[in-house]
Symmetry: C2
Subunit: 255 residues, 2 copies
């Protein structure tokens, strides 16, 4: 190896929570890191050795956090930026690359890698059956970074076109009404009995997953940690005696 | 444990290929299985013990394969149906639930679980940066199970609405023209310089990933194992000296 000792930045998806759903690749990168950066509750899921440093931050200011990570890596540290689920899905990876594009020229020469994880949407889907078994999409319902009109236009487009929809960031204390408004719009387009899944903390001990219908879906069931999934006309519910229903989407579409 | 000895059906996502990207949960389920069912090349990625039986099949007839798995589980075997990537994304899980819904009543009482894996789209995204960092969708380009007009309508809807698009099953020897027709439609909606990613065998030794633009995208670059990703207006390419470009999608959308 002729490479000089130098920093590295890894953006790591921890998966939905259960240790058995974190990949060996992620574990190896975490073991090699000198510094961990992330939102506090995600950092809590990393068992750091005494020689490893945790830099906790709140869940906003992603660009500041990304720049902090890049400065540490540029100084020779081996930095792991950790996200829940997959690091590339409504998580830190996009913010890191945005910081690279608009930041120090030296940052483009850093060794940067993204380590994928089991995304929340796929963990939730697996717990209820196969709702993502047909064409699907993922939308962040947050209007912090995009106009609400864009969110509504996208929701209508995919609902009318028959996609299963995974809603990330459905609401927060600062954004309490968005999920209700989304359900209102979707009720104009989709049948009342369209399956809706509310999933909180999938794969963790406090997991709570409810399957309901679009006309009965109550926004108050969700909080900022909830993933909401809305079926399409192809989504089916199989009722079972003594067990939770199974939800899946048919691959076949009739003309 | 008062549970009688009985069969179990696990639908397992093996991830994109690299062993380090398969979860410990998937490894544990594979170790407990008595029987493996799947498309030959996926079964080749499972190291079976002498007491474990592999049932290979071709890549069509998914419902037949699902019924075979259900019959074995109903007979008391511990069956693992294996898929590449995530088992719930254009893979075997949907077919298994379809077989359950329309099959033997006893099949509804079987213990069935889905074990998620790193999906191809997220593995590819991680290799190039964070193209799925904004609203995105996944579409199967196969018209074996849905009319081609539905595929085109969906493509137009998501392209116009600003989604990043992951195309699964872009073409095969039996469906040679679909990807070209998709590019033609997308060129009517999206800018010529929209980034397009062709990714084959992500994470495996024969990995090949190319980043190009929509106007230069050549359908002949793809085969049945290729995932094609088409950016949105928010997708950026960061050129780097001596390294592959980085591709990511901005979280921010202007009004």
């Amino acid at each position: 190896m002729t490479r000089a000792v130098s920093g590295r930045l890894s953006i790591v998806g921890l998966g939905p929570g259960a240790a058995a759903m974190r990949t060996p690749q992620a574990d190896a990168v975490l073991a090699e890191a000198t510094d961990f950066i992330g939102y506090g509750p995600y950092l809590d899921r990393v068992a750091a050795r005494p020689d490893q440093v945790k830099h906790a931050s709140d869940n906003r200011e992603e660009l500041d956090r990304a720049r902090h990570a890049l400065r540490l890596a540029a100084a020779g540290r081996r930095v792991a930026v950790v996200s829940s689920g997959d690091a590339g899905v409504f998580a830190m990876a996009s913010a890191v690359f945005e910081a690279i594009e608009h930041g120090e020229p030296a940052w483009r020469k850093l060794e940067v890698e993204v380590v994928p994880g089991i995304s929340a949407m796929m963990a939730v889907a697996a717990r209820v059956g196969a709702p993502l078994g047909a064409d699907f999409c993922a939308i962040s319902l947050s209007d912090n970074l995009k106009p609400w009109a864009v969110v509504l236009r996208r929701l209508r487009a995919v609902a009318e076109a028959g996609f299963v929809i995974a809603l990330y960031n459905p609401l927060s204390t600062a954004r309490p009404w968005q999920l209700g408004a989304a359900f209102e719009l979707l009720r104009e387009v989709l049948a009342a009995e369209t399956p809706v899944i509310f999933a909180t903390a999938a794969s963790r001990s406090e997991e709570r997953i409810d399957v309901t219908t679009l006309d009965a879906a109550d926004p108050a069931r969700a909080d900022m940690r909830t993933l909401v999934m809305i079926g399409s006309a192809a989504t089916r519910v199989i009722e079972r005696e003594g067990a939770a229903p199974l939800v899946y989407s048919l691959r076949r579409v009739s003309a």
